[in-house]
């Protein structure tokens, strides 16, 4: 996307989205090696439905306002500010109401709706993005403070067709259900690993005089506790972060009971009436 002062630009199919029409790549990772898995294409799984909705939006975008549409008499925002920043590598210049926070600038002005509004008051973490590589709550960050800064959102993590390892690991460990907190969780996780690399301590760090670079599960949980997941996908999120952090796989925590086990317990209670 180029510099964009026009807030009413029409949605268009990106190259990625157009490629989807032609291709529906593999979705399963049954028995797939990790390397293959991490190489999963960015475009896989974004269904045609998304495209159909884009078309719906495009059709709506073509609508012009009826003659009797009501507009505010004094529509222009007061106290406008001009901000030049980088978003996902691209230079952006925005003219904004000074009250606009980064979250709304992304969602309402730049069409980057991957960053989510969950509470709008810094209590849930859904809006987490990276500013100059550090995780911040975009709902509590006035856009006016971002002159010359570099913002990375969930849309900026993949490299071309390649998912960021954290994105791939979230899929592998089913670290989400509804998906709404997911962009914030992933941005937070990416920021967290940088903090660990810098040796920053947390509330649960045993010895704060020693740089913490290797994270235990408890450290990951503590450092991710600002990101709420109401679906409760926490164990999968921790497993995903651990794998990206240390390369260690987390074993499955579910299994099917097999017929032999069933036969055994059924036999047991026929001979034994207690537990």
């Amino acid at each position: 996307m180029e510099d964009n002062l026009d807030e009413t630009s029409q949605p268009e199919l990106s190259a990625d989205e157009e490629a989807l029409v032609k291709e529906m790549p593999a979705l399963t990772d049954v028995g797939q090696a990790r390397r293959t898995f991490l190489g999963q294409s960015l475009t896989s799984g974004v269904g045609l439905f998304a495209l159909m909705l884009l078309e719906k939006e495009q059709a709506l975008a073509a609508l012009s306002a009826p003659a009797d549409a009501v507009f505010a008499p004094a529509a222009a925002p007061e106290n406008t500010i001009r901000i030049a920043m980088k978003v996902n590598g691209a230079a952006k210049t925005l003219e904004l109401d000074s009250r606009v926070v980064l979250l709304d600038a992304l969602r309402e002005r730049l069409e980057l709706t991957g960053t989510k509004k969950g509470c709008d008051q810094g209590q849930c973490g859904a809006c987490t993005v990276l500013v100059d590589g550090r995780r911040v709550l975009s709902c509590l960050t006035l856009a006016a403070t971002l002159e010359g800064r570099e913002v990375t959102t969930i849309e900026g993590l993949a490299r071309g067709e390649q998912l960021h390892p954290m994105q791939a690991a979230f899929i592998k460990y089913d670290g989400f259900q509804c998906g709404y907190c997911t962009p914030g969780q992933i941005c937070s996780a990416v920021g967290l690993l940088e903090e660990a690399r810098r040796g920053e301590a947390s509330h649960v760090t045993e010895n704060v005089t020693v740089n913490t670079t290797s994270l235990t599960d408890e450290e990951i949980r503590e450092r991710m506790s600002g990101n709420i997941c109401r679906c409760g996908a926490y164990p999968g999120i921790v497993a995903a972060i651990k794998e990206v952090h240390s390369g260690k796989e987390t074993a499955r925590t579910w299994r099917f009971v097999n017929d032999d086990e069933l036969a055994r317990v059924r036999k047991e209670w026929q001979t034994d009436e207690t537990v």
């Binding site: 991957g114 791939a168 899929i171 509804c178 099917f256």
Partner: protein
Amino acid sequence: MARYIGKEINRVDGVAKVTGRAKYAAEFRAPNLAYGFIVLGTVAKGTIKSIDTRDAEAAAGVIRIFTHLNAPKLGPKASHEQAPPRATEEQDKSFRALQSDRIFFNMQPVALVVAETYEQARYAARLVKVSYNAEKHTTDTEAVRDRGRFPSQGPPPKPRGNPEEAMKIAPVKIEAEYRIPIEHHNPMEPHAAVAVWQGDRLTMFDKSQEVYNVRKHLASSFNIPEANVQVISPYVGGAFGSSLRPNYYPALTAMAAREVRRPVKIVYTRTQMFTGHGHRPYTIQKVALGAERSGKLTAMVHEALHNTSTFEEFSDNTTGFTRQVYACPNLYAPQRITNTDLSTPTWMRAPGAVSGMFALESAMDELAYALKIDPLELRLINYAEKDPESGKPFSSKALRECYRLGAEKFGWKDRKFEPRSMRDGRLLVGWGTATGIWGAFQMPATARITFKANGTAHVASATSDIGPGTYTVITIIAAEYLGLKPEQVEFELGDSNFPRAPAQGGSWTTASVGSAVHGAALAITARLLEFANRDANSPLRGAAAADVEMLDGRLQLKNDTARFVNTAELMKRNGLGEITETFEAKPSQERRNYATLAHGAQFIEVKVDPDIGQVRVTRAIEVTACGRIINPKASHSQEIGGVVWGIGMALQEATEIDHRFGRIMNPNLQHYHVPVHADVHMIETIFVEEDDTVVNPLGVKGMGELGMVGIPAAIANAVFHATGKRIRDLPITPDKLL
């Protein structure tokens, strides 16, 4: 042999969700979009005396301000309600915004500011001045508990046997009262709508668990045909029951958009969500259990009462499953409701069941200690071999296996019976268990499959995926029965232009929509066979539809796969680019001869810090018997979610009301505590599959609710085991343990 069913498969919407491309309601764009911001009232009961909107109207960017004085009246209420857990239809008496000067609850919407930008609307909303004629209100359920009445819907409660007499003569009995505070769903995505009118046609992007219901609601609100309304809801950022009903904001959004002749977007703030979609009601329960010294239950009395609003009746049927969980000849389990000046409660994950089972399963633990019988053994002693309520057999029930295997996995045999008898260093260790139960429901549902000659299929049904993995599970089912790979199947949902599906609630989606997709796939198979058998030389000549299956581009005989036709060639020969079949699946007649339930055993370990009363759930084992598992990966995530919700309910969640003002004090995520990463430790799932040919053609039962049902009781029981303190009022906060 299933190729995909029962296999671990990644979510088909996974990439969309991890890259931020999945579009939720508020994220759809429309030209000339205006922003609405809701103004909430500040008294709990009374009337609006006056509203001064002059300052707000003069603020920059303001397009119009709606109040009850100028908002158009909405049409008659016609939307149906599908009420889990009993799948009954109820009349819509839901609250609608700005329709009168009457105040029914605090934080009720009293005005809507529409402006050019979000910031302008939010600012101007603060300039709206409202004065009230306040009346005396009652928001405390405790204060009106003696005014409880039976809900008007459903049969009046009937005792089984003679519970009164049986209780009198029971050698061992316990009686206790349990309380659950108001709780809120707090999905991460705030409820949102974008309304776009084209003449008298309305397109609504909404966060919804049932697009057909929202469509009906909007059509009746604006007196337009349902065909004029399209409701689109492709992704829902969690709902947990809070989007089962249309809520007040979609009609409000559409009304504003119609008046200003522009698209309008309204997004609830986190605070507005606390009165914008209902809540789990404040529930008081009295449980009395009578038993023989052997542990055999002889009498169960479980009385529940919870709040409803003054304008609408709601009941979550708190005691419903009490009738079906244990074998007991004498039982009385009435449900009462009482009016308060709060918004109407609604269904919240495992509605009724988790509340009722918290009380009943805590009481069972109390009884076990009164009897000095192991709590798990007490449950086995009272195992229901047939449905105690109807006397019908269960279509399947592997609960005993769940108890046994869970106990084995958990190491239950090493549990010391006495409270405060197990320790980990300075921490008190407690082990608790409880039974989970939920209905294996099925609702009528319709799906459409278009099978294409190029070997792909398009599947559509107007269901929803609020997170359980419906996109994936339906894709798997279609792939399985069309003999395709999942990536060759495109499944769409969340659009009222698709064939009708029930609300995503009650854990019935896979059973309902999955059965419809299964039926449509078999219809495609039958059609292909019909075309094949027009050819006198067809290798399938004489075969019945039930004898053939589709697999990898072939239509073949199941028991002789060497006899097949190539489907692409067959379709080409017949000049068919694609075949479309629409199938409606309905619950079978056979189901009526059985009790159809899903069960689970749940084991919890807590560690309690005796100095500060902090409880940690360090281990949770879910053993689940709910028919066939389609995608164990997502099913496990559902079970994890159930445990996390159980932790929240047991230890953290409470909506606090200052009854002097009848106002919620903690309508935000800072003060309404939900579990965070640091609260969640090891959670394991064991699936005990049941081969159930009765429940539905796929043999699936639901699990979204089931995994939560026993958890709060299991945690409370574990806390008792750890500390010797029986906490009967949730949540179990540290102050209650000190």
